[in-house]
């Protein structure tokens, strides 16, 4: 349990007054365990602790009157620094129409997130078009249609039999109706399924979406690094959405993903309703990961 573990690290460091390098190493060892328990990737933890060692065994910590507190502050700042996006968070919707594409593994929350994004953009005065691009999963189109209806969001009624035709016709429909952006909900797929990855690559080439979001379940474990790197290498994306953050998963996968892909985490899903979407907040994520 991270809260008790960090509490233990803190207590034992506090008792020490001035810290020796050895004390700091022990503190870092405990922080390593805390990060692993939070699902941060094994290799990412290794590298991160190495970086921390440089800052943590410097003047700031060793000469502090409250070195335990200062060490934890250094860890908190380093982690937050990594998680923070380098620019203001926004969904690129420019274009006639703009195009947003949601990708990710099976069950991560893409369809629900598509509706949330349309809802979010409407609050900002943008009327988007929700487009179902999952012809594989039974009732996937109905699922998106029903959710769009319930929230009175524009939905593209498909007659086409291929994803490519749906995409092209939906874009010209949106242009005609003055709707922007087009939000493409794609089928869940494995990062190692070449046929399905090719489908994404082709759709991307055809429609040139300015915003491609990787939708990742916040309870993802060590595999987050594989998932992120493969999707980045084969398709590429410019932002991440972390879903199911209303649960109690610590979300270390978010840190791993950001660390290895350098892509910003833009949004978090906090429930099953259309308005359960929030902008990503780095400090809150750090406290969550560290407990």
């Amino acid at each position: 349990n991270i809260t008790t573990r960090l509490g233990e690290i803190f207590k034992s460091l506090k008792k020490k007054g001035k810290l020796s390098k050895k004390d700091v190493e022990k503190g870092l060892k405990d922080i390593r365990l805390a990060l692993l328990e939070a699902d941060v990737n094994y290799k990412v933890v290794k590298e991160f602790i190495e970086r921390l060692k440089k800052n943590a065994t410097g003047e700031r910590v060793l000469n502090s009157f409250t070195p335990g507190e200062t060490l934890l502050k250094v860890v908190f700042e380093e982690l937050t620094n990594f998680l923070s996006p380098k620019e203001k968070i926004e969904i690129k919707t420019d274009g006639k129409p703009g195009i947003v594409m949601l990708i990710g593994l099976q069950g991560s929350g893409k369809t629900t997130t598509a509706v949330k994004i349309a809802h979010f953009l409407r609050k900002k005065g943008k009327e988007s078009l929700l487009v179902p691009c999952d012809l594989k999963r039974p009732a996937a189109v109905e699922q998106l249609m029903i959710m769009a209806e319930m929230d009175k969001l524009p939905f593209y009624k498909i007659r086409e039999k291929t994803i490519a035709k749906i995409g092209l016709n939906a874009v010209s429909f949106a242009r005609k109706e003055g709707l922007s952006p087009v939000i493409l909900d794609t089928a869940g797929r494995l990062h190692i399924d070449d046929t399905m990855i090719d489908e994404l690559i082709n759709l991307k080439k055809l429609l040139n979406p300015k915003e491609i979001l990787l939708v990742l379940d916040s309870m993802t474990g060590q595999d987050a690094v594989n998932i992120g790197l493969e999707f980045q290498k084969k398709v590429d994306f410019n932002g991440i959405v972390l879903t199911k953050m209303d649960g109690d998963a610590r979300g270390g996968a978010a840190f791993s993903l950001r660390y290895v892909t350098s892509r910003p985490i833009k949004l978090i899903g906090t429930g099953e309703k259309p308005d359960d979407l929030e902008l990503f907040h780095a400090e809150r994520m750090t406290s969550r990961i560290l407990g």
């Binding site: 692993l36 319930m150 309870m219 060590q222 998963a249």
Partner: protein
């Protein structure tokens, strides 16, 4: 070989890395390493080490195995778990599996919450030729479960598979809703449901352990089904679940098609960790 080292002590950190990167988690990994050290076996080759490590891992899984007990029809399974893990798809695979064994199967769509949830199950039912009991929109899932058993009695279904809406284990009112479904089945007949399967996604990290603990506390889950093992995740969390919660794994989901379900085999699972 994997270890590329000669000495036993040198192989320990390599082995630790394999376990941690497979989502086994710190606590279970430490327990496994402890058992390895206590074994005091003289490892001469890498084969020896892997062979003995595999034995330790398999023993952990075997320790929670249960003999299949006799059940009177209808054999009733309740499928539960957090959102998106593959409950609905897995239930369809089970339905197909039992149908192929000659059973008279009823699928019950008691996810009345998810948009097109009932539709998803009924489309699958048509595809595999299995009857689906459809619920009304917003109908109480406990009421649907009750109707399902009544229907099973009157129409002689021998297997009843009940799907439920995904829910986070942290949502108390939703966990209460599931308890109510279980109680209604109990009241209908004391032995029902025969199995409550917690469907876990193999890509989930340590949170799967909390899910297992809370679902077990709340419903006394009888088995785990681990899905999406066809990805690159190893599903090592099941060692922690075996050690700390004591629920056996019964099936593994290996894809999105109806035949992508295998009965859990500890030896094969352990071997896959070293691939």
């Amino acid at each position: 070989g994997i270890f590329r080292t000669k000495s036993f002590n040198e192989s320990i950190p390599v082995f630790e890395e394999i376990l941690l990167s497979s989502d086994v988690g710190i606590t279970a990994t430490n327990e496994i390493i402890k058992r390895l050290r206590e074994s005091r076996i003289d490892y001469k080759t890498e084969e020896d080490t892997i062979h003995f490590i595999s034995k330790i891992l398999t023993n952990i899984l075997d320790a929670v195995e249960e003999k299949k007990r006799e059940t009177s029809p209808p054999y009733t399974i309740l499928s539960v778990g957090v959102n998106g893990t593959g409950k609905t798809t897995t239930l369809v695979k089970l339905a197909n599996h039992f149908k192929n064994k000659g059973e008279n199967v009823l699928l019950v769509a008691s996810d009345t919450y998810r948009p097109a949830g009932v539709e998803q199950l009924s489309i699958w039912g048509k595809m595999i030729g299995v009857d689906v009991l459809k619920s009304q929109k917003g109908q109480d899932p406990a009421a649907v479960a009750f109707d399902a058993i009544e229907s099973a009695f009157s129409k002689n279904y021998s297997v009843v598979l009940i799907d439920t809406a995904g829910r986070l284990h942290t949502k108390k009112n939703l966990m209460e809703e599931l308890k109510k479904v279980k109680n209604v089945l109990n009241k209908k007949r004391r032995d029902l449901p025969h199995d409550i399967f917690l469907v876990l996604d193999a890509t989930t990290g340590q949170n799967a352990l909390s899910q297992a603990e809370i679902f077990k506390d709340s419903l006394d889950v009888t088995g785990v089904i681990l899905t999406k093992i066809d990805g690159t995740a190893k599903g090592g969390i099941i060692f922690a679940i075996s050690l700390e919660v004591g629920i056996p794994v019964r099936y593994i989901g290996t894809g999105e098609n109806v035949e992508d379900l295998i009965e859990f085999d500890p030896k094969i699972f352990v071997a896959s960790l070293f691939e």
